[in-house]
Amino acid sequence: MAILCWSCQEEVTLPLGEKEELVPTIEGYWTDQSVFNEVRLTLSKDYYDSLEVTVIDDAQVSITVASSGRLIPFIFLQGSGLYRPANPQDRAIVGESYQLNVKWKDNVYASEGLMLQPPKVDSVTWNYEEERVFRDEGYYIKVYGQIPFTEDNNYRIKVIENDTLKNGREDYLLFDDTFGLQFFEEGLELGYAFEENDKVRLELFRLNRNAFEYLNQLVNLLYNDGGLFSPPPQNPDTNITVIQGDPEVLGYFVVTPVLSQTVIITDEDD
């Protein structure tokens, strides 16, 4: 602590390199709920450029069902800037493998994923807690459930508070079975102090390992402060492969079941 008192921070401007060609970024979600099924295609930009990223709207996007070879075409929706299935009824089915196909200019990209069975969420509760170490006082939500799987235990929970996604680097709730999964049965407490009348929506995803690792590496990168204790910064390893064209591509493809639940915090646990 005494040492930290002697450190200072200030904003600086460094001369940074630039990419000759902007790199396409692909972000695809293929789930069992149509509202989540989307593909976003954008281009990277110069670091100091504060304008919005450029959305790629002229790509051909589809998903292939591995077992049947059936092609599920996507169409670009101008309003949202997203590609969505032409038929909203198309969605992922547990046990099936899917391949994302993207063709843009002379570049062809692909990625695969297996739709896994979702875990079971029994209940979502909340309790008022006094201030603790690292945690303010407030209402804390606990998620109780069962994870009966011995493999592919890679999970993410998203928290949407009053219609706003918590998306800071500290908001990534990613867990696997390194420390066991008993804590899920005994109640996984979310690290947010909510207030009364907060509307909280929770979304639970079960990811393939490569997508889970992508997110882990992304979080590590967001926390990389460029100092001696941080590893050399690297782009997260994408699970998208280049079939043809420019070898650089960013982003990831997720095939996942989604469990979601919305609660409104009241002074007594429902």
């Binding site: 790199v23 967001l222 910064p233 690297q234």
Partner: protein, 795 residues
């Protein structure tokens, strides 16, 4: 009592005092040796400016001298001792006074001469060896006033620092875990406190430190880059003495003296920080309950059994602890012990036996009713080394011996707290047995040409109890299935490596003051740290060579010119080297190494090489001492899976490195130190763009690692030391005032690439309404213009 009565009393007592002092005609005293309290016979004692009217001390060191007006300066001088001048007041003259004279050899210049022969660098066989006397290290301006052994070594040519304020060192392109830091022959696995800001060595308890930049003698080995050989001081056999200091961060005390008569001695040193004492004074309840401290405790016993045998036993224990609100705690401890027996068989034949045990452990505790745990880990190395030395004639020296080492890296022990939902983690221990045979010899073909050769043979076995995993296709990887698991019993051989490590060096003496040397040296290293950050952490994971991890191999060739001039007052050297490394490791992107039992799936391995030229101009004697060093060097790594499989510079590749270290003694009371450092900035990666994914703006990096550079690093430190003029008193105190980063240079510690909200680098989205957001760069810098004051003492 009325004012008048007080005045009367004052005059009466003053007059009485004057009358008394006029009656006393002599002062008496005793002159003794400060080093052993023995009386000095025949010391000259006189009033300043009146040396002809002086007296000499008698057989008991006692004297009587006619008194003159007080106060006055009394001078005590004695051949071979420093002159003492002390102001004597009338009050002091009433009693017998003891004067402690310091032998001349206790002065700084003489100590340096004693530690190194004046022409040693020209005539000896050693290359790439640096010795910095402890007294010199103590005079280098220090961060927070804490004299630091490892930080001082960073000022030598060929030695790089990891960055601002850290004690991690990188020698001739080697990484930090390739340095063997040993204390009295026992390795110290984490030689730093406070996450690397201070090193573990209390300078008061240290006798010497030698740095071998790769050209280790055959009796040493096991690390690829360097040997930092630290020796604890032995106690004196005359009387109890002490020294210590009170500083801004810590205080320290060392006591030494005879133990059971003159044939055995002891020394104990202790140091402790008191940051947590200040935290307790805080009005903030959160800060008040935090803890942050470290301590060191070391001791050494020496027993001279007879003319031929000597035994020493030494031990060091040091711990750090960081505690937050009594719910989170992180602590780590080094405990190093060693014993040595030296026997002189004859004038030509010597035997040394050393045994040691080094243990490093850390513990992380989290007191939480739902997810609490205690995570501990420890590793140890035990060793036994026997060395025989034979000097058949004046031209030849032979050494040979055996060195056995046993490594025990305990399994990860993560114990959930009662009722915690976290589950226990079970891994397997890793053990290794390394047996080395070594022989070395030195022979003078002629007065000009000498050769020193050595050979070390190491047989390393990873042994049980342990487990090996077999993978589909034979190559481990994060996505590769385990095909089989092999379990091994205690000490059962799992996998073995062996290797010859030759060393050879030639020295040609062009004249008495000029020599040329060349050396070749090979080392194998069987343990490494699985980390790819530049600075070490207390929880770094050490790994052993085994089925999938091959030992690091290092080959170094060096050539040097060594020249002394002006009657050996000045030394000049130029050394060039080329080093080749194989099987150095790195980590794959996103590797998790702390809790896995299959660490091999997280590792990448490859090659490295380094080359450079080191210039050193050094002055060891006189009022002004110090050195000017310049190094030009490059360091490379080439590891499949990193930087497009192409060669890249690690962070500590800093081609230009200039260091100036000066110390000047203005008078016996005043001295000053100055340090200037200039180095090329660290090799780092800056983003080449940004992109959006998962609702985040993410910096985009090139696939090539470390193509960018921090700005050049430069810094000047200064210190002034004031010693109370020697008045022959036993207690000798001094004040040291130092300033780190004298001109307040903002050397970057880190650049963070992140979104800045509302033009305020401290604003977080959760703090309130976001008015603006832009991609930015935030620089962190440490220690600008940092003054500190230390009081040091000896008695």
């Amino acid at each position: 009592m009325s004012f008048f009565r007080v005045l009367t009393l004052f005059f009466l007592t003053s007059l009485g005092y004057q009358a008394f002092s006029q009656e006393r005609r002599f002062i008496s005293g005793e002159v003794v040796d400060a080093s052993n309290s023995e009386p000095l016979v025949g010391a000259n004692v006189y009033w300043e400016g009146n040396s002809t009217a002086g007296v000499v001390s008698d057989l008991d060191g006692k004297f009587q001298l006619e008194a003159i007006d007080f106060p006055n300066k009394l001078v005590i001088s004695y051949v071979g001792y420093e002159k003492s001048v002390r102001i004597i007041s009338a009050k002091e003259a009433e009693k017998s006074i003891r004067f402690f004279l310091k032998p001349d050899e206790m002065s700084l210049d003489e100590i340096i001469i004693q530690e190194r022969r004046p022409d040693e660098q020209v005539k000896n066989m050693e290359m790439g060896k640096s010795t910095v006397p402890i007294e010199t290290i103590k005079n280098i301006p220090a961060l927070f006033g804490e004299v630091d052994l490892l930080r001082s070594l960073q000022l030598l040519p060929g030695v790089k620092s990891a960055g601002e304020g850290t004690t991690g060192i990188f020698v001739r392109g080697g990484s930090a875990d390739q340095n063997l830091v040993q204390l009295d022959g026992a390795p110290v696995y984490n030689p730093s406190h406070f996450f690397g800001i201070f090193s573990v060595f209390n300078p008061d308890g240290i006798k010497s430190v030698d740095l071998y930049k790769g050209n280790m003698p055959a009796s040493f080995g096991g690390r690829a880059a360097s040997l930092i050989d630290v020796s604890l001081r032995e106690g004196n056999n005359k009387q109890i003495r002490g020294e210590g200091g009170i500083g801004s961060i810590s205080s320290r005390l060392t006591l030494d003296g005879p133990l059971f008569g003159k044939n055995s001695t002891f020394i104990v040193s202790a140091r402790r920080t008191y940051a947590d004492v200040f935290l307790k004074l805080s009005s903030d309840e959160n800060l008040k309950n935090n803890k942050l401290n470290f301590h060191d405790l070391s001791g050494k016993l020496a027993f001279v059994l007879n003319d031929r045998d000597k035994i020493t036993v030494s031990s060091y224990q040091g711990s750090d602890f960081l505690g937050l609100d009594e719910e989170f705690g992180l602590g780590w401890t080094n405990w190093v012990s060693s014993a040595a027996w030296s026997r002189v068989h004859s004038e030509k034949f010597f035997f040394d036996l050393e045994g040691y045990h080094s243990r490093y452990s850390y513990s992380v505790e989290f007191e939480d009713p739902d997810n609490g745990f205690e995570w501990t880990n420890k590793l140890s190395e035990s060793g036994l080394k026997a060395i025989w030395t034979f000097l058949p004639d004046s031209k030849t020296e032979l050494n040979w011996g055996i060195h056995s080492q046993y490594y025990n890296f305990a399994p990860v022990d993560l114990e959930p707290a009662p009722n915690s939902a976290i589950e226990e983690i079970v891994t397997n221990p890793k053990n290794g047995l390394l047996n080395n045979l070594f022989i070395s010899g030195q022979y003078a073909f002629s007065p000009k040409l000498s050769v020193e050769g050595g050979l070390r043979w190491g047989l390393f076995s990873q042994v049980g109890k342990g487990v090996d995993y077999l993978y589909e296709g034979g190559v481990p990887g994060p996505d590769v299935e385990v095909s089989d698991t092999l379990s091994y019993g205690t000490l059962e051989k799992m996998h073995a490596y062996q290797g010859l490590e030759p060393r050879i060096a030639f020295r040609y003496l062009i004249n008495e003051q000029f020599s040329v040397k060349t050396a070749y040296n090979r080392n194998f290293q069987y343990i490494q740290i699985a980390s790819n950050s530049s600075a070490g952490l207390p929880i770094d994971r050490w790994i052993l060579s085994g089925r999938y991890i091959e030992p690091v191999r290092s080959d170094q060739i060096s050539v040097g010119l060594f020249h002394n001039f002006n009657q050996n007052r000045w030394e000049f050297s130029v050394e060039g080297y080329y080093k080749d490394l194989d099987n150095v490791i790195d980590l794959r992107n996103g590797a998790q190494v702390l809790f896995t039992d299959q660490v091999e799936t997280e590792l990448l391995a490859g090659k490295g090489w380094a080359y450079g030229v080191e210039f050193l101009l050094r002055k060891n004697v006189g009022k002004t001492t110090g050195w000017l060093a310049y190094t030009w060097s490059r360091t490379w790594r080439k590891i499949d899976g990193v930087s497009r499989n192409e060669a890249y510079n690690p962070r500590f590749d800093r081609p230009n490195d200039l260091t100036l270290v000066l110390n000047h003694e203005f008078s016996p009371s005043w001295s000053a130190g100055l340090t200037f450092v200039y180095t090329t900035g660290q090799a780092v990666s800056y983003p080449v763009g940004s992109y959006e994914v998962d609702n985040q703006s993410v910096p985009l990096y090139s696939d090539s690692r470390n193509l960018d550079r921090f700005p050049n690093y430069n810094r000047m430190d200064a210190s002034v030391t004031w010693k109370n003029a020697d008045k022959g008193r036993k207690w000798r105190g001094s004040w040291n005032f130092s300033i780190y980063n004298l001109y307040g240079r903002k050397n970057p510690f880190a650049y963070e690439f992140r979104t800045i909200y509302n033009d305020d680098i401290n604003f977080e989205p959760s703090d309130g309404e976001i008015i603006s957001a832009k991609p930015g760069v935030v620089m962190t810098y440490l220690f600008t213009f940092l003054p500190s004051l230390t009081y040091n003492f000896q008695f």
